[in-house]
Symmetry: C2
DNA sequence: TGGATCAAAGTGTGATCTCACTTCATGCTA
DNA sequence: TAGCATGAAGTGAGATCACACTTTGATCCA
C-alpha cells in the first residue's frame, strides 16, 4: 500500500486555489506518514490521481521541496520522499528540542481550561489507539495532541517551523512506532505532559515534551539504520 | 529606488533550473533588504525584468510565499513583501534567540582557525561599512558574519530555518539600521562575539548573539511602529 | 462638483504543448 | 552468453494561451 491509495480525486473547493489544496493535502499525508521514505512522486501521476492538470501540482510539489518534505533525486530531477541521514535526524531532533520545548513553556502561560479538555481528549484517543494497535489513529492523534499544545502558545511562525520539522520526520514515524515498547514509553511522556498541563507546571511540561522527542528520535535512528540496510 | 533596479536580466547558468536561480536571486534580495515591506511583486513584471517566461517565476514566488518571504495580499491574490505585525516580530525574535543561540553554542565546538579568520574579515568589513555609513555593505557583511558563525555548527537544517527567519526580517533591517546608535551597539556585540570565538567561550558567544538579536529586535519594533503610522 | 458607470489594463490561475533528458526493456551483435 | 545499441516510454522544465477576476481611470450624467 502506497500513499496514493489513501488519496482520492480532489473535490475542488471554490475560493481556494487548486495548488493550495494539493499542497495541504500532500503535506498532511506526509506528516501522517502515508508515504514511505524514498517513494517517488511524479507530476503527471499526481495530477492524474488528483484529477487536475500538472501546473498546480508542480507548484505544490515545489513548495514541499522548499519545506524539506520532498527532495529532487536522480539526474531526472524526479521528486521523492527524502531518506534522512543520521546527521539530519539529530539536526532535526535538536531543533525540535529547542522549539517545541520553548512552545511548551509558552503554552502553559496561555492555555485555557477548554483547550486542556481538547488536549486530554486527544491523549485519550491516543491511548485507545495504542491499546488497539491502530497505527493510523495513533499517529493522527499524536500529531493532534502535540499540535494543540503548541497552538496554545499563540505563535503562528513558531508553529509553522515546528510543522516543518514534523513534515520531515513524518515518513519515518510510521515505522518507528513498531519499535519495541515505543508506544508504552511514549504514552508515559504524554500522560506526564497532560498532568503538567493540569498543574500548570511549565518546567514539567517542557521536560515531558523533551523526553518524548528524545526517545522518539532514538527509535527513529534505529529505524533509519534498518532502512539503510535495505529494510 | 525599488528592489528591481538592483536586479538585471538573469544570465541563465546551465545545469541549474531557471526557477532555482530566480528563487535564490530573489531570496538573497529579500534578505539583503532590497525590497521594502509592502512592495508588490508581479509575475509578469518579474518575468520581464528577469527575461524569462512567467512559469519559473511563479514557482519561485510560490516557494518564497511558502517560506514566509512573501504573502498574498488583496482580493487579486497579488504577492507582496509582508508587513510584519508586532506579534510576528516577537514570534520571530524568540525563535531566533533559541536557534541562533543554539547554533552559536554548537559552532564553538567545531569552528576552525581558518573559519575564525573569515569571520574576523567579515567583522572588519562590517566595521568599515559602519564607519562609512554604507548601509548596503554593512547589511551584506552583517549577514555574512552571522552566516559564517552558524555554518560552523554543521547543521544544514538548522541553517535553513535560521535563513528563513532572516528572510522575514530582511526587508525591515535596512530601515532599522537608521535607528540612533543602532550601528554602535550592534558592533559592540559583534566585537564581543569575535572575541568569544577566539577564546572558544561558548557561553560568551551565545550571550553576544542573544544581545545582538534582542537589541536589533527592539529597533525593528520601533521601525515597525513608524511604518504602521505610514512612514 | 460629486457620484455612478463602464471599459481598458493588469492580476493570478490553470491547461496544454513542446523540448531535452533519463530510464528501462528489448533485441541485436560480437 | 555478455555487452552494447536502440527505441519507446516516462520524467521535469518552460513557454504560451484562455479565463475569471480586480483594479483603475476616464467619461458621462445628475
Amino acid at each position: 500500500m502506497d500513499g496514493w491509495s489513501r488519496l482520492g480525486p480532489l473535490t475542488l473547493r471554490e475560493g481556494e486555489t487548486a495548488q493550495a489544496q494539493i499542497y495541504s493535502c500532500l503535506r498532511e499525508a506526509l506528516i501522517s506518514g502515508y508515504f514511505r521514505p524514498g517513494e517517488e512522486i511524479s507530476l503527471r501521476h499526481t495530477a492524474k490521481v488528483l484529477g487536475t492538470s500538472v501546473t498546480p501540482v508542480r507548484e505544490a510539489l515545489r513548495q514541499l521541496e522548499s519545506d524539506g518534505g520532498l527532495e529532487v533525486w536522480g539526474g531526472n530531477r524526479v521528486l521523492r520522499v527524502p531518506i534522512l541521514s543520521e546527521a539530519e535526524l539529530t539536526d532535526i531532533r535538536d531543533i525540535r528540542l529547542n522549539l517545541e520545548g520553548f512552545a511548551a513553556t509558552l503554552a502553559i502561560e496561555n492555555v485555557t481550561a477548554s483547550q486542556i479538555r481538547l488536549i486530554a481528549n486527544a491523549c485519550a484517543m491516543m491511548r485507545r489507539a495504542s491499546d488497539e494497535g491502530n497505527a493510523d489513529r495513533y499517529l493522527e492523534s499524536n500529531w493532534r495532541f502535540h499540535k494543540l499544545i503548541y497552538a496554545a502558545a499563540h505563535r503562528p511562525v513558531l508553529m509553522g517551523v515546528i510543522e516543518g520539522m514534523w513534515l520531515r520526520v513524518g515518513p519515518l514515524i510510521r515505522h518507528a512506532v513498531k519499535a519495541p515498547h515505543h508506544l508504552n514509553r511514549s504514552m508515559e511522556h504524554h500522560d506526564r505532559a497532560e498532568q503538567a498541563l493540569r498543574d500548570r507546571d511549565g518546567a514539567a511540561l517542557r521536560e515531558a515534551i523533551v523526553q518524548d522527542i528524545s526517545d522518539a528520535a532514538a527509535d527513529l535512528g534505529a529505524t533509519l539504520k534498518r532502512y539503510e540496510q535495505g529494510g
